[in-house]
């Protein structure tokens, strides 16, 4: 063996109640390597790492650092053994500078001298090729800079084993490649790096070895150069999965939702949406790409009637409704012409013919209101409440980002969650649970929702099943527009593909689908067009069949954040 072992885990087991999160996991990490830990959500990746970094305590098993058995009871213990974890959610003090955050909580000999700290931090950053100004305040930083601070914080404490939990989830493609360069430099310096991820392409790009976890068990550790995406997926999921999303050509795409010059301020008076305009067509999937927090949530909530707009229009075209012909906007001559073309029909959908009828007879017939024609209904959704929107007959479905905090009620069962949008229907003051119950059964059956029963609180279901319930309900109302914000976030591969297929099916049914996503590969594969949003402004709308990841990445970061202009 050329390389020395940095960390060994033997028989690590952790249970939460009856759930076994990690089942006798054995894992080795060498010095100077990048080990990727790959697995679906809920497979125990983060739990395992939390046990090394002192957040959880294992129920069984041993941990060795540099060949010595250690007991890690707290993050402090972990640091003493040279282990540092960079969490998905940053833990930084906004009002402090980078350097102040980095020394926070470090017990050092001698007097506290910010100047030497700044120098030390600068030196560390230079050594590994980070771009960081130690005196910059956190609130002035981008997500990627904050992550840099977190990494240097760990290095400053002398960590030799660095654990990064999904570090790329919030970064643009360019930032990801910069991060990977830094990781490679740290590796060359002899550090051990463990990176938790579920993105296969990143695993293949950056790691030396891959450890695959499935349902809490360590399935295998393989050398990255000896494997490929298909093999990794199979090990991860336990069976072969087709990784292709069928994308059909949109057919008779008609404008369905037109957003014009949308401006929105948040409660602090910051412009969160700036002059956003776009059109969503029925029968296509419009993707929305952008760095997290660029205004995606506010945009969808504005359309759904949950945000008071500053200015702008949201025009919904309700497709083809039967309307009686009137002479108010159609002259007798025009009515006769259109009638000859077969544009009119009666209530039983039989075509209307005026052949051989006198003008007076035609007039009588038309004025009786029995001659119908199809017309798009134009509805402005601006400053309408969600209830008003629904009462106008606009079938707008919305799968929000925060499933249990907004889309569903966690403490209620599937049946009661089905009624959320429809409970007002029916006479009287009492609820009718019959139809929601039937819908609940249908969704459980059709989407293969795993649940102990229709009345089990949805909070207790896994992320994928919660999402199936939510998407299932929103689709059940036969929407004309379907908006979905990060619908596969936190879902495993199988559930993700179920959701993609459901969205595709809606597209085939002529629904205008708006899909906010974070995985650019998926956006490029699933969508017809992609709108890129950056700091609340649209920086481009591209053809998903022709665009590249780099192109979208550039659009995502095109302009500088607005707060710099304010400052």
């Amino acid at each position: 063996m050329e390389k020395e072992l940095a960390l060994q885990m033997r028989g690590i087991t952790k249970r939460f109640g009856s759930v076994v999160a990690n089942d006798h996991v054995d894992l080795d990490v060498y010095q100077g390597e990048i080990l990727a830990i790959l697995g679906e959500n809920g497979c125990g990746k983060t739990t395992l790492m939390n046990m090394i970094s002192g957040i959880y305590f294992p129920d069984e098993g041993q941990i060795f650092v540099d060949g010595q058995e250690v007991v890690i009871r707290s993050p402090k213990d972990a640091f003493r053994h040279g282990i540092g974890m960079i969490h998905q959610h940053f833990k930084l003090v906004d009002l402090f500078t980078a350097a102040e955050n980095i020394v926070l909580g470090v017990e050092e000999e001698g007097r506290y001298n910010l100047k030497t700290v700044n120098e030390k931090v600068g030196a560390l950053a230079n050594k590994y090729g980070f771009h960081l100004d130690p005196q910059k305040k956190i609130y002035d930083m981008s997500v990627s800079e904050k992550q840099t601070v977190e990494i240097i914080k760990v290095l400053y404490r002398g960590a030799d084993i660095l654990i990064l939990d999904e570090p790329t989830a919030v970064l643009t493609p360019q930032e990801i490649s910069r991060l990977f360069d830094v990781l490679r430099r740290m590796k060359a310096d002899g550090k051990s790096i463990i990176i938790i991820t579920h993105k296969l392409n990143e695993v293949l790009e950056v790691s030396d070895r891959v450890a695959i976890l499935r349902k809490g068990e360590h399935i295998a550790t393989v050398n990255t150069r000896d494997t490929n995406e298909a093999q990794l997926t199979e090990m991860m999921v336990g069976k072969k999965v087709s990784l292709n999303i069928d994308r059909t050509e949109p057919k008779d795409a008609a404008p369905r939702l037109m957003v014009k010059g949308l401006n929105l301020d948040n409660s602090e008076g910051l412009h969160v949406l700036k002059d956003v305009s776009f059109t969503a067509y029925g029968g296509e999937i419009l993707g929305i790409a952008g760095i997290a927090g660029s205004g995606q949530r506010e945009l969808l909530e504005s359309i759904a009637g949950l945000q008071p707009l500053k200015s702008g229009e949201i025009i919904f075209r309700n497709p083809k409704k039967d309307r009686p012909v009137t002479f108010f906007h159609k002259s007798m001559k025009r009515v006769k012409e259109l009638g000859a073309q077969g544009a009119f029909h009666d209530q039983d959908m039989r075509p209307v013919s005026f052949d051989g009828m006198s003008t007076a007879a035609i007039r009588r017939w038309v004025e009786s209101g029995d001659v119908l024609f199809k017309e798009d209904e134009i509805i402005n959704l601006r400053n309408k409440t969600p209830l008003e929107i629904r009462e106008l007959g606009v079938r707008l479905s919305f799968v929000p980002e925060d499933r249990l905090g907004m889309g569903l009620v966690g403490s209620m069962g599937i049946t009661d969650n089905m009624m959320l949008r429809s409970y007002r229907k029916g006479p009287g003051g009492f609820l009718d649970r019959k139809k929601p119950r039937a819908l609940a059964d249908e969704i459980i059956h059709d989407l293969e929702v795993v649940t102990p029963g229709v009345n089990t609180p949805v909070r207790r279901l896994s992320g994928g099943n919660v999402q199936k319930v939510l998407v299932g309900r929103e689709i059940a109302f036969a929407p004309k527009v379907l908006m979905a914000a990060y619908p596969v976030r936190g879902l495993d591969i199988n559930s993700s593909y179920t959701i993609y297929h459901l969205l595709n099916k809606q597209k085939e049914n002529g629904v205008a689908v708006i899909f906010v996503g974070e995985d650019l590969d998926v956006l490029l594969e699933l969508c017809d067009r992609i709108l890129v949003i950056n700091s609340g402004a649209v920086t481009g709308i591209v053809d998903a069949r022709a665009a590249t990841k780099e192109e979208i990445g550039l659009l995502m970061t095109k302009t500088e954040p607005i707060r710099k202009e304010d400052a």
Partner: protein, 377 residues
């Protein structure tokens, strides 16, 4: 690193949250908690009550007092039922608000203004109009007063997002002083004690003064259970309580639900105030509700905001109260000791919720489990 080795030991106990608990197991934990509470009470009794210290076998009399306090005579039993009903009634009134996560701590005041409203009508109109009409007007006044007292904090919450807990709490003091104010006006001799009204008394069913109150509260329990679980309003209350954002997302007007529910909550408090005024006291004092508005908060919480469970919790608390009074009488001790006893038992009952929500793991247990597993291999 090795110098730390010796001190590295696994923690003695660590906690984990239970996903869900089997109802039988939950009931068992609660039962054990009550028994443990009784044992600790016994120890306290042994230390503090002279009679028990001298004759340890008297401890059985001490425990027996809890039963005796409520069941030894028909009078005590009816008092138990009546007081439970009043307590339950106020707790029921609080429950819609609590389900909405609107922490109404103002039941005391809302009930008190209900009593005041009913007595005011009685004071000014008693004897001048037919008794039945008087009783109806008294009821309407009580409902109106309770509703007004409940809706003021709700309006402020809906409009300016004020803190409802403090607001409703302060309204209690306003209610108390309002009663003092009227007593000064109504009682010219300055004693502030209003004699019993001659008119406006609810009829006794079959010669029993309490039966009507008990039946009204029982009907209210069932009605509220149905309202909360099967009506559209009840559904909206649950959605708003769980997540305001979800409510907005589906188009529920949150301020409307808050205001409507607090009108209901206040009105039900007013109804209980009416029962106290027309069914029991026939008068009003600043102490007409006697702190039951606060005890009711506990009844509702312990009953998990379920009207049917609350029958049990209100009964239990009343049992403890009457038991404590019995101890005070039988052992000739001051009222403070029974209060301590009640407190101890409630401490155990509330404390055991921790063991229902969390599971403890002791050091060394998993090591045995591991050994057993290896033994199988």
């Amino acid at each position: 690193m090795s110098q730390h080795h010796a001190e590295n030991k696994e923690p003695l106990v660590h906690l984990s949250k239970r996903p869900a608990i089997h109802p039988v197991k939950g009931a068992l934990i609660r039962l054990i908690a009550i028994l443990l509470g009784l044992v600790v009470c016994g120890l306290v009794a042994f230390l503090l009550i002279e009679k028990v210290r001298e004759k340890p076998e008297k401890i059985w009399d001490f425990y027996n007092a809890f039963i005796k306090g409520s069941f030894s005579t028909p009078r005590k039993f009816w008092k138990f039922l009546r007081s439970t009903a009043i307590l339950l009634g106020i707790a029921l009134a609080l429950t819609p608000a609590f389900r909405m996560r609107f922490w109404n701590t103002g039941a005391e005041g809302q009930t008190l203004v209900g009593v005041l409203g009913a007595i005011a009508v009685d004071f000014y109109l008693g004897g001048k109009i037919p008794e039945l009409l008087l009783l109806i007007l008294m009821l309407l006044a009580a409902l109106l007063c309770g509703a007004v007292w409940g809706v003021i904090p709700a309006l402020c919450k809906a409009k300016w997002n004020t803190n409802e807990t403090l607001f409703t709490l302060m309204m209690n003091y306003v209610a108390t002083f309002l009663v003092s104010y009227f007593l000064v006006i109504w009682v010219p001799n300055g004693s502030s004690s209003l004699p019993k009204m001659k008119f406006g008394k609810l009829p006794a069913i079959g010669g029993n003064d309490y039966l009507l109150i008990i039946l009204v509260i029982l009907a209210l329990t069932i009605a509220l259970y149905i309202y909360l679980n099967y009506s559209k309003h009840g559904y909206e209350i649950n959605v708003v309580g769980e997540s305001v954002r979800t409510a907005q997302y589906v188009g529920i007007s949150v301020p409307k639900v808050i205001i409507r529910t607090m009108i209901l909550s206040g009105m039900l408090c007013g109804l209980v105030g009416y029962l106290i005024a027309a069914g029991l006291d026939q008068t009003v004092t600043t102490n007409s509700v006697g702190g039951q508005g606060f005890t009711a908060i506990m009844v509702s919480w312990l009953g998990k905001f379920n009207p049917l469970f609350m029958i049990l919790t209100s009964g239990l608390i009343q049992l403890l109260n009457q038991g404590a009074a019995q101890i005070s009488q039988d052992f000739n001790v001051s009222g403070a000791l029974p209060a301590v006893v009640t407190g101890i038992i409630l401490f155990f009952i509330i404390g055991c919720e921790f063991f229902i929500n969390y599971e403890l793991h002791f050091r060394g247990r998993h090591a045995r489990g591991k050994a057993a597993k290896e033994g199988v291999k």
